[in-house]
């Protein structure tokens, strides 16, 4: 199957996909409730898109295409309220968070659909270990070459999104000491990592994708689990490094931060990407996963070291004019407040654990946060 043509879409339009946890009421462990929840929500029109995911303790919801923060947030809230209403009828709770703190991966059941069963057959236990929950953000691009340019320029900012959304400090019953342990599950897949460096769509299509396809390893863009990947059928680039935040409000803020960054890049405010920018990529990414906002970034060009907190703060300040135009000033202010005051969701969960020494209470906090 050749690569689809890149359908240009409204520049800077955006959409969010959120993978959510289905949690049992009595033990706060993951509950196999996706089938029942999907059945119940489909009885009435759902204010967005809803579909199953790899294992039957997770569901994925997606918004329509939006341009403004307020409309995006309203739709996220409407979807959340509908989901909570249905989940209440089934004695199931819903929450965000990149990992479930104490579920055992081997107890998960692969959702009964051919694609997931096939992936489970291919990836073995990795498929069940992939019971992790992420937020994907799509941003519309005016054309294919711009999409690749923005994608590679964003490489330097990938740690920002990891640190801002990090909400997976616990995994398999232990504190991992990572702010985002979820991404460690993603690294295990052979086609994860970063996109190959190509700045022109026809090079990407003919020199890379066609050759990969000829090897028989991949059939479509879906088979790549890159941190950012182009999505030609939607005419977007898709950022996939974020944990699902604990609240839909944070999810919307992160999306409009990406939107403002893309706006700045498209306006030519950033130096064009070069392949050597990726020399520090994996290291910076690790710092963000491990230390969150306290992680140390090495700038790819100047080689200066700066904390992620300071770098994000400076970037947010710089993006103010774009935020004003896009109507997202309030959302970006909220992010600035978060990084200077409360810390990210991983901090929030660790605080609860430090107080209670109980991972059930951590899940309870996530459940309460999602309903806020």
């Amino acid at each position: 199957m050749p690569l689809e043509t890149f359908h240009a879409s409204g520049a800077l339009s955006m959409g969010i996909e959120l993978e959510l946890q289905l949690v049992g009421q009595h033990d706060r462990d993951l509950a196999s409730a996706a089938t029942d929840l999907l059945e119940l929500t489909r009885r009435k029109p759902f204010p967005g898109d809803i579909k199953p995911e790899m294992t039957d303790s997770m569901i994925e919801v997606a918004t329509d295409i939006h341009v403004r923060h307020d409309a995006l947030l309203s739709q996220l809230e409407a979807m959340r309220d509908t989901l909570l209403d249905s989940a209440g009828k089934l004695n199931v709770s819903l929450c965000g968070g990149g990992t479930h703190p104490f579920q055992h991966w081997y107890e998960r059941r692969i959702f009964s659909a051919p694609r997931f069963q096939q992936l489970s057959g291919l990836y073995g236990y990795l498929a069940k270990q992939f019971t992790v929950f992420g937020q994907h953000v799509h941003i519309g691009m005016p054309d294919a070459d711009s999409a690749l340019r923005v994608l590679h320029t964003l490489g330097r900012y990938v740690p920002h999104f990891i640190a801002l959304s990090a909400s997976s400090p616990f995994s398999q019953g232990s504190d991992t000491l990572f702010d985002s342990a979820r991404l460690n599950s993603v690294f295990a897949f052979p086609l994860s990592g970063r996109a190959p460096f190509a700045l022109e769509w026809h090079h990407f299509e003919h020199d890379y994708f066609a050759n990969m396809e000829a090897t028989g390893i991949v059939r479509s863009m879906k088979d790549f689990y890159w941190d950012i990947r182009p999505k030609p059928e939607y005419g977007t680039i898709e950022l996939r490094v974020c944990d699902t935040p604990l609240t839909v409000g944070r999810a919307a803020e992160i999306a409009v931060y990406l939107q403002a960054l893309c706006s700045s890049i498209l306006a030519g405010e950033e130096a064009g990407p070069v392949e050597d920018d990726y020399l520090v990529y994996t290291y910076n990414r690790f710092q963000a996963c491990r230390f969150g906002l306290d992680g140390l970034l090495v700038h790819p060009r100047t080689h200066d070291t700066v904390t992620l907190r300071d770098d994000i703060d400076a970037t947010l300040a710089r993006l103010e004019p774009h935020a004003r135009l896009l109507g997202s000033t309030q959302a970006l202010d909220s992010l600035r407040h978060m990084i200077s005051a409360d810390g990210n969701d991983a901090c929030r969960l660790r605080t609860v654990h430090a107080r209670t020494h109980n991972l059930l209470a951590v899940v309870d906090e996530a459940v309460a946060a999602f309903a806020q």
Binding site: H26, E39, L90
Partner: protein
């Protein structure tokens, strides 16, 4: 000290029997895919047929206490799983539980009457048929690591029907008392007092427990041990004042659930202690049941069982869609409720010891039904949960 060899040898049979039952359970589960509890029950039935299980009154009392304690652990676990708030957010669950219980009561009573049983026995049969065995249902669900709507609903309906069964049973006995004494007040008082004192005993133990555990910073094993001891305490306390140890254990479980965030999680099913006591419970209860002596008795048992399951399936299916699931899953929930409560026999034992002559008369009829459902009930429950796709698949990598 006198060496009482005779008494020791009289009891040696039990561990041997339990070991044999455990082996049979493993073979049944791993080899045949049959619930372990079916094999335990079979071992009990075979042992009572082969050997004279007549024991001294002291031994019988000790065994009965142990059985009540084991059942108390299951009810505690069940209480721990019950989310009372769910019954408020989705009142159709409560409605379907009440409908399912009342329909079962009516259908079984009607069949018993139609088969020529007297009204008093038909009432007791109806009341006892309402309850699903929390022990068998939880055992099957836990053995297969079930999770989903059918499991969730079956467990909640089980708690509701156990409670209603106890009330209906007291009502039936009250009715008999009414006939005997002519005092309506005494009959009503009997039911209400037993309910209140049972729940009160649970609360009495349940209130100070979390405080104690928190102060001790008890870990998983500590919490499990203390919970088990608390269940033992309420069992003794309630047996002492002649009220329902099972309601007290259920209350205790519900109370502990409210404190779960502050406590370390107890081991699932009380760990190996729970396994051992469950093994004993199923063997013991089955060894008390006797096969119906006549073909008519067996036919009655089968007919009552069939009517009971049909009533449960019809009621749960009828309320399925309105309560948020499919009609198919509703019907499967009813089927999962098939295991007949082992406490039917314990209740009878208790009623007899409480001095109600009525229970003796219905013992043979109910014993037949118990024995049929001891073997078939867990199989039906397993079948329902498998058809609902809520069991763990065996996957080989």
């Amino acid at each position: 000290m006198v060496f009482e060899a005779g008494r020791i040898f009289a009891l040696v049979g039990w561990p041997a029997l339990l070991l044999a039952a455990w082996l049979a359970g493993e073979i049944a589960h791993r080899g045949l895919g049959v619930p372990r509890v079916c094999a335990y029950a079979l071992a009990g039935i075979v042992s009572s047929a082969l050997a004279d299980t007549h024991t001294t009154p002291e031994t019988a009392a000790a065994l009965s206490f142990l059985a009540n304690f084991a059942l108390g652990l299951f009810l505690f676990e069940l209480g721990h799983r019950i989310n009372l708030r769910w019954l408020v957010t989705n009142p159709w669950i409560l409605a379907s539980g009440i409908a399912e219980s009342l329909l079962t009561f009516a259908v079984v009573r009607w069949i018993a009457l139609a088969m020529g049983q007297p009204e008093s026995i038909a009432l007791v049969l109806g009341a006892l048929s309402v309850a699903t065995s929390p022990a068998a249902l939880m055992r099957v669900a836990n053995d297969l690591r079930c999770s989903g709507q059918v499991t969730e609903r079956a467990l909640h309906l089980c708690a509701i029907n156990c409670l209603l069964s106890v009330l209906l049973m007291k009502g039936a006995i009250g009715y008999w008392q009414l006939l005997a004494s002519g005092s309506l007040g005494s009959a009503a008082w009997n039911s209400i007092a037993i309910l209140a004192v049972s729940v009160g005993c649970g609360i009495l133990i349940g209130i100070p427990l979390p405080w104690l555990l928190r102060r001790l910073h008890a870990d998983e094993r500590g919490v499990t041990t203390v919970f088990a001891l608390a269940v033992m305490l309420v069992t003794l306390l309630t047996q002492g004042v002649n009220v329902s140890p099972l309601l007290a254990a259920l209350t205790l479980g519900v109370l502990m659930r409210r404190n779960r965030l502050a406590l370390a999680a107890a081991q699932r099913n009380f760990g190996a202690l729970g396994d051992l006591l469950a093994l004993f419970l199923f063997v013991y209860v089955a060894s008390m049941a006797t096969w119906p002596s006549t073909a008519v008795g067996l036919a009655l048992a089968v007919l009552l069982s069939a009517g009971r399951i049909a009533a449960k399936m019809v009621a749960t299916a009828a309320f399925a869609r309105v309560s948020g699931t499919s009609t198919r899953k509703g019907a499967l929930t009813g089927l999962a409720l098939a295991p007949l409560s082992t406490f039917a026999l314990l209740l009878l034992e208790y009623s007899r010891s409480a001095g109600f002559g009525l229970a003796d008369g219905s013992l043979s009829a109910i014993a037949g039904m118990v024995i049929v459902m001891e073997l078939a009930g867990p199989l039906f429950a397993q079948w329902a949960l498998m058809l609902a796709g809520e069991t763990q698949h065996k996957e080989h990598y």
